[in-house]
Symmetry: C2
Subunit: 371 residues, 2 copies
């Protein structure tokens, strides 16, 4: 009973507040924007009271309309189902929080059409910039990005015709770390399993690095003279298996190939030297691929499938620890955070040429690749 229940059907506007405080809208606006130096303590108190009483909250839309910026940025994710995306998201949120930005999160759900629509929607809401984990975009997207007007930063994947900032994993290094680890452990056959590499640069880079290393060229070499065991492919054979998760039939076929290899009586070529408990290792290019493999192997070979094949994957999903799978963890949080920082600089007017930020992955050794 003490205060008038302000169950106002209509939200209070700046005009209401001005009237209630017995002043003009300008002063209210000044108060809201922290121009405190220009307000007498007395007026300020009245304004505060009025705002409190009316439960006034400035309309961001109107505000944005006027000053031409709404503090909104778009975050377009290809697949929220991938833990990677959620983790990146967290970094993005933290950074936005720190910079006073509000992320509009959009989920393309692996549909190129969705991606296009969301991009269009975002420009329609006049976001000041976008962070995109691209799916199938090319040059035409550039146009969708407001005729080249609105700043964009790419995450994980670069886009062919687009000269934009990009932040992601150091794919080459990550693939090399994984491959070397497998080589050191003495596997004599390594399959790199990856989704179709066309369109997605990170997949391509990982696969290329793997292939290059396996073909004996030794990768991008570390510091010379470093005491690192110089692992070379030696007799180890490598190949790439493409797993198109979007197509059940194709997946079945690829997995059949794998099963065939697993059921060969013995190593066709080198039936000699040291006996390896498991000679074949699977290097999954990301978590979804790894999960698909694991599910199949478990269904096919039972709970102890890990005694038949070793699995290693880029990405560190929550089930990796549970199943003892060695992984290469991406600095996902940092990736998201950095992406926002880049974008923010761009929004603030930075004009430099497109930058790349490659962050290192971390090998987490578990039972799957031991012995």
């Amino acid at each position: 009973m003490s205060s008038t229940p302000p169950l106002a059907p209509r939200r209070a506007t700046i005009t209401d507040v001005a009237r209630a405080a017995g002043t003009g809208k300008t002063s209210i606006s000044r108060y809201l924007n922290g121009e405190l130096g220009a307000l007498s303590a007395e007026l300020r108190a009245r304004i505060e009271a009025a705002i409190e009483r009316l439960d006034y909250q400035p309309n961001q839309m109107a505000r944005g309309l006027k000053r031409g910026r709404n503090r909104l940025i778009g975050l377009l994710l290809a697949d929220l189902t991938n833990p990677y995306s959620v983790e990146v998201l967290q970094g993005v949120e933290a950074a936005c929080h720190a910079l006073g930005l509000m992320p509009l999160i959009c989920h393309a759900a692996n549909e190129v059409e969705m991606e296009r629509r969301y991009l269009q929607l975002l420009t329609t809401y006049r976001v000041e910039g976008v962070i995109v984990n691209a799916l199938g975009v090319r040059e035409d997207t550039l146009r969708a990005l407001g005729g080249g007007g609105i700043p964009a930063v790419l995450v994980d994947r670069s886009v062919d015709g687009l000269a934009a900032d990009m932040v992601g994993l150091d794919n080459r290094a990550a693939a090399e770390i994984g491959t070397r680890h497998l080589l050191e452990k003495g596997f004599d056959e390594i399959w790199f399993v990856v989704q179709p590499v066309e369109q997605v640069s990170s997949r391509r880079l990982r696969e290329e690095a793997f292939r290059k290393l396996m073909s004996g060229s030794g990768g991008a070499g570390g510091k010379r003279g470093r005491a690192r065991k110089d692992v070379s492919p030696g007799a180890a054979r490598g190949r790439t298996l493409v797993l198109n998760l979007a197509d059940t039939a194709e997946v079945g076929q690829a997995l059949a190939e794998l099963d065939a290899a697993l059921n060969e009586p013995a190593s066709a070529t080198s039936a000699t030297t040291r006996r390896a408990p498991r000679r074949l290792a699977l290097f999954a290019a990301n978590a979804p691929v790894a999960l698909c493999l694991a599910l199949h192997l478990k269904a096919r070979y039972g709970d102890d499938w890990q005694t038949r094949v070793a699995l290693l994957c880029i990405d560190d999903p929550e089930w990796a620890e549970l199943t003892g799978v060695t992984t290469i963890r991406q600095p996902t949080y940092d990736i998201g955070y950095r992406a926002v920082e880049f974008l923010h600089q761009r929004i603030e007017g930075l004009e430099s040429h497109a930058r790349d930020c490659l962050l290192p992955g971390e090998l987490i050794v578990r039972a799957s690749t031991s012995l």
Copy 2:
């Protein structure tokens, strides 16, 4: 070279289009809003051309400001890390898509403070409604929801002082299904493991249903005369273990209790009758709890921990299939979809009293509870 490269630093406005089409803004507006009947075919063509040429896209903000609705709704999620949230999100997106709404996704990251801030932010952006997977809200949130002005629908959890629509799992039924399953399988000791139940209604409901059933009252009874095996607790003992995932120390203590029980030489009371390969079953109230348990058990008892304890959980995370854990899958997609539908009706002015929509869970039996 054919068209003038419209690398306009400033986006085209409705005025630009009007000028380019040699007409007034009104006609453009009409065109945009589909009032085609009021446009001569000739004018229409000119407008289309102008829009195309200028790459014009109406400003949703200005539009919203004018007509008082911006088609924005807020989706406030307590924890995106929980697969449950992501799945609900997908349903929400689909429904929004169908209804022409745009969801503003906010992630409270389990921080009550974040939740409060986002709620405030959302009202500041004048969303037309919110879908809330509440964290620690109570009556005061109601005020934050725009003085009771903006429609809200709750997901998974109800809030004490708030009479809002709510959609979620039929928690009681789900808990009963799980408990019955365990009873049927002959476990003679069942622990219900749950995060602190204060504040979160769904946890409380699940725990209560479990306890009630275990105490012998038989649950909410099925159809009379149904041929269902009438499972009664019999000699089976039940208890509740609280696992506060936010507090490492508490978790450690709770897990220690569990270990103690697991290391008892034999069933203290009923050392008789049929031999059960595993007499203790853990009924996890949700996926995060289950994961925590599984990780601990694996670390403590090795890869074959499942031979010592059975695990069952509400939620069906991706690792469940991989580890053969029996689960109760929630109709997450539908939950999200229905939530939006409810909200939409409310936005359209529906005034009826608060409704509850309880959807059934589905038991997915896997190896963990077999034998």
